[in-house]
Symmetry: C2
Subunit: 138 residues, 2 copies
DNA sequence: GTTCTTGCAAAATATTTGCAAGACG
DNA sequence: CGTCTTGCAAATATTTTGCAAGAAC
């Protein structure tokens, strides 16, 4: 599905900023920060516009926001299969890359009495394959 | 265990700000924001001092920080039983309260090939018992 | 043509840093 | 007394808002 189709599908106006963001996050295998997305779009847009676009795209569940730390916020394309249960992400503490995981199962049970479950977000920290490989080098 | 004992145990200087923070988070059944902690200490300390104290206490695993959203950061006493595996928290999307959970099990498996697991953070969103009760009122 | 979006400037907020004065041990 | 901590001021950084010009449909 192309960026403009995604926008049409959600009854959002096709603007080049939105299309650009969608193209970038769709084609990336890892989550990207605002700065990274802006770089890949050759800095074409104002930060304000980015924030507003991110917000709109997030509200429409086209992308989702991953807050790894207060100064590490990333965005990823929202493959809606995940979004019903919640999301799981892997954060490499060495290279700070963030990837969506779709293979993590949360045992849904055991909330306190009378609490109502809606959605879970799981952030797994560790070391990614690339950084682990670095370690084994001489 | 009292606040000053906690500090001694970690070889940290006993200062009233640190003791105050520890007292407040230890005696609270939910996680508290900087503003809430400051209020309970009658606004005695500078925000800078809070940030520095939080950092020190977090580095020593005396408290932990829960980033619910970019503008919703809370702190809770770190009961170390949880900290080995990671933490699970419940965020009520209605009243924005945050509580530590100790009864959530994550199926530890299924990372991509060659990834190394270190720790997980789970944030469960939903409705807390108090807010649910509100709904059933007339 | 009407409505939504953008860019700019500016405000609000959160967080960090330098430095001198003060508290801890 | 030497070292770590505090408070103030100021610097950074992030995110939000108002408004007029411009684009989408």
């Amino acid at each position: 599905m192309k960026a403009n189709e995604v926008l049409n599908h959600h009854h959002l106006k096709r603007t080049s900023c939105r299309e650009g963001i969608i193209d970038v996050v769709m084609s990336s295998d890892e989550a990207l920060s605002e700065a990274e997305i802006r770089d890949r779009l050759q800095g074409c847009y104002d930060r304000t516009t980015f924030y507003r676009s991110f917000k709109t795209l997030e509200e429409n569940k086209i992308i989702h926001k991953i807050i790894v730390d207060n100064n590490l916020v990333k965005y990823a394309f929202d493959s809606s299969a995940l979004s019903s249960l919640g999301h799981a992400h892997f954060h490499c503490v060495e290279c700070n890359s963030v990837r969506c995981l779709n293979t993590v199962a949360l045992e849904k049970a055991s909330l306190p009495q009378d609490y109502e479950y809606a959605q879970a977000e799981i952030l797994i920290r560790g070391t990614c394959n690339k950084c682990k490989k670095q370690h084994s080098k001489p």
